[in-house]
Symmetry: C3
Subunit: 304 residues, 3 copies
C-alpha cells in the first residue's frame, strides 16, 4: 500500500453522506432524508470511497453506517423515480448486458472487503438495497424494533441484488432466506424469519446508534486490528474443507502468535488488565494476506 495523507473525514465534502472519525470509530450518516434516504449514484460512489479509506487508514478500527433517527427511513431502496434506467451506465451499455455492474453489489463488496469491523445501525425502515447492500455485508447489525423491513424484489419484477442471494443464506440459512427473498414480505426485526440477522434489537430509533457506538468503542479499544483482519479473512475465505481451513488458520496463528499483538494478548491476560495492541494493518500485515484470489469484477470482460 502506497503512502497517503490521512483523510480528514469531516472534510471529505460528500453530498450524500456525513462522515466523522471519533477515536478509532468512523460514523457514516446517510444524509438524504428529504429523499427518504434512497440509494443513488452519489451515495454509491461516496460509500465505496469511504469504506476503502477506512480499510486503509490505520487509525480506524470500526466503521458504523447509520441514518438520522428522524429521517423517514434508514434507507428506502434505490431511487427509481426514473425507472431502473437510472442504474444503467452508458459505457457498460455499449459493451453488452454482461458488462453491467449492479451498484448495490459494488457497495456490498466494498463493505465486505473492508478489513475493519463494520456495523449497520438501522434506526428506521428499510427496503430493497436498504436491506441488501446496506445491511448484509456488515459484520454486525443493530436495529430498531419498530423498523419495517422488506426485500421486495420478486414483487417489483427484478432479482434480489447486491450479493444478497450469496450473503443472506450464509448469514441465517436457506430456510429463512427463502421466507424473505422469495416472498417479498414486510417483516419486523423480531420475526422468526429475520431475527437471527440482528446482533441487537432496540426499542426506540434513538437508542440504535448509541448502542452501536458503545459496542464499537469497546471493540475498538480491546481488539487487535490485525487479529480482526485475519479473523474476517478466514470467515470469508475459509478454504474448501476442514483440512484446508486447518492449514490456513495454522499459518495465521503462527504469524499472529509471533507478533507484538500476540505477545500483548498473553501479557495483558497474565497481568489481568485490558490489552493495548500496537500493531496495525499498514505496518504489520504479512505479505501472505490475502491468501485468496478474487475475480476482477471491475473489468467489463469479467465473466463466469
Amino acid at each position: 500500500m502506497h503512502k497517503m495523507a490521512l483523510p480528514d473525514y469531516r472534510a471529505l465534502g460528500y453530498k450524500g453522506l456525513l462522515v466523522a472519525l471519533d477515536g478509532a470509530v468512523v460514523t457514516i450518516i446517510i444524509n438524504r432524508a428529504k429523499q427518504r434516504n434512497t440509494f443513488d449514484n452519489t451515495i454509491v460512489n461516496e460509500l465505496i470511497e469511504v469504506f476503502e479509506l477506512c480499510d486503509r487508514d490505520d487509525r480506524v478500527r470500526v466503521v458504523i453506517l447509520t441514518a438520522e433517527p428522524t429521517a423517514p427511513a434508514y434507507c428506502s431502496g434505490a431511487d427509481i423515480s426514473g425507472g431502473w434506467n437510472l442504474l444503467w451506465v452508458p459505457e457498460a451499455e455499449k459493451e453488452g448486458e454482461h458488462a453491467h455492474r449492479d451498484t448495490g453489489g459494488q457497495v456490498s463488496l466494498a463493505i465486505l472487503n473492508c478489513r475493519k469491523l463494520t456495523i449497520a445501525a438501522i434506526n428506521g425502515h428499510a427496503a430493497g438495497v436498504g436491506m441488501t447492500g446496506m445491511q448484509l455485508p456488515f459484520d454486525f447489525r443493530f436495529v430498531w424494533e419498530g423498523a419495517k423491513l422488506t426485500f421486495p424484489f420478486v414483487r417489483r419484477g427484478i432479482v434480489p441484488e447486491a450479493v444478497s442471494t450469496y450473503l443472506l443464506p450464509r448469514l441465517i440459512g436457506h430456510s429463512r432466506a427463502n421466507s424473505l427473498l422469495l416472498t417479498g414480505a414486510t417483516v419486523s426485526p423480531t420475526s422468526p424469519y429475520i431475527r437471527d440477522l440482528y446482533h441487537q434489537i432496540l426499542p426506540t430509533r434513538e437508542e440504535v446508534y448509541p448502542a452501536a457506538k458503545a459496542f464499537a468503542d469497546e471493540l475498538a479499544a480491546n481488539t487487535s486490528q490485525v487479529a480482526v483482519a485475519y479473523a474476517k479473512g478466514l470467515l470469508l475465505h475459509p478454504g474448501e474443507s476442514a483440512e484446508e481451513n486447518h492449514l490456513l488458520d495454522s499459518r495465521a496463528m503462527k504469524l499472529l502468535g509471533s507478533s507484538r499483538d500476540g505477545a500483548e494478548g498473553v501479557l495483558s491476560f497474565k497481568e489481568r488488565r485490558l490489552p493495548k495492541f500496537p500493531d496495525t494493518l499498514g505496518k504489520n500485515l504479512s505479505s501472505w494476506y490475502p491468501w485468496w484470489r478474487s475475480p476482477n469484477v471491475k473489468h467489463c470482460q469479467s465473466k463466469l
Copy 2:
C-alpha cells in the same frame, strides 16, 4: 422449449396423485391414504412428471404438495413391505452399484429444479422420504403443529437419502441437522431442532392446506414469474464467492430491469397499485438462463 399442449391437470390419470390447477396454483394431493401415503414407484414417476409439467407450463406460478388431512400420515416414508429391494431397478443392477439412482433423490431434483414457487403443506405425520424428498426441496413448508416428524435412517441401517445431507444443513445449519439426521429422533414442529425449517406452523391439520393455498394465491397474483425463476436460480447457484455472485446478480438485474416485468414493477410502485406482470418463462427467459452446469444424473455412467 418446444411447443406443447397445455396439460389438463385433472385429466392426467394418475394413480397415486390427485392434481388440479386453480388460477395459477397447482395442488397435488398424495392419494394413497390406505397405504399410509407411503412412497412407491408410481408416486415417484407421477411426481417427477407433474413437477416437470409445472415447470414448463406458463400458467403455473406456484405448486403445492399436500395430503388428505384425514389420511393416517402426510407421507410415512418408502413402501418397504418387500424390503429395500423394491428400490432397485434391474437395469441399474446390471450396470453395477454406481448405477443406482435413489428414487427419493430423483423426486427431490425434480422439485428443486422446478422454476416455480413450491410449497409442501404437511398436514400429517411424516417419516423418511416423507421428511426428505417430500419436504426439503420445497421453497416453503407449512406444517401441522401435531405432526410427528422423523428422519429414522440410522435406525434402519441406511443413509439419509433424497439429497437430504446436502439440503437440510443448508436450510437450518449443521448443528440442527445433526440433531435430526444422526439421531433418528421423532420431533414435533415446534422443537428447536426443526422449527426453523417451517414457514408456518398451524394448530390443526385442517388449517394447513388453506393457509398454504392463501399464501400461494397471493404470491401467484403479485410476483413476477421470471423474477422468481432468477431468484431461485441465484439461491441454488450463487457462484463460489461474493464476487462471482455480484457478476451473476448484476447480469440478472440488467436483464430483468430492462424487461416488461421490471417496468411494471416500477410503474405499479409509483401508481401505488398491485402489479400485473406480463412476462412468462416460456416466452421471456433469456438464453443466459441457466448459467450453471449440472452433471447428467440420469446417465448410468455419471460418476464423481
Copy 3:
C-alpha cells in the same frame, strides 16, 4: 485396516486424560483440574490417539468427551503460561512459517474424522480451544446452563483457530458466528448467539454427563455403525451440488440397503422391535468409502 489388538482404554496410561469403555460408549475425561483443564501438548497427543483408536475399534459406537464437574472449568483454553511459544514445534520452525500445524486443529480433525458418533459434555466454563477444538468438531454438544463461554481470540491478538472459522458458521450460520468470533464476548448457553450450537442445556453441572451418557447408550444400542459412518461422511463431504449429492447418497443407499444392517432395519421395523445391527466398520465397509480426498495436512510442504 490392518489387524490390531483391541485397546484396553483404562490401561492406556494417559497423563492428561482418563478413558474408559462402557458397553459401546467410550468416555474421555479431561484430567487436569489443577491446571483449570488447560490444553497442553500432552492432552493434544492423547486426544488424537484416543479418537483414532475409537475410530478403528469396532466395539465403540459413541465417544463422549467431558470433565470432572468439580473442576474449575471444562477447558479454559491453551496453557499460555509460557506465551504462545509453547505452541511452536522446533522442527516446523526450521521449515518456515507455513509448516506450523495448530494443535487445536489437529485435535479438531481427529474428532471430525472419527466415524463414530461424538459428543462433547461441557459441564463447566469454556474458553479458547475449550470452545473450538473441544466443542465444534463433535456431532452433539450437551452443556451446563451456567457455563461461561468465550471465543476470546481477537482480544488476545490471535485468530480463531482449530478449524473454528470453518466449523462454527456451518453449525449456526455466519450471523451468529460473527457475534461470537469477532467480539470475543462471554456468553451463556441460552444466549441467542450460541444456543443453536447445543443439543441440550442442563440446569446443573452434575446433570450434563449423565444426560449425554444416556443419550449415547440409546444411540449405541439402536443405530447402525455403518449407517452412522456414511451419514457423517455425507454431511461432511456432500458433493458440490444437489446433483452430486444425489449420486453419492444413491450409491450409499444401494450399499447399505443391500447390507445386513439394511435388512435388519426393515425386519425390526416390520416386527415392531428394536433393531440389532450386526455390521461393523472393520468388517463391512465398502472400499468406496471414503469417496473424498483430503490434503495431507501432516506433511510440512502441504500448502494451499
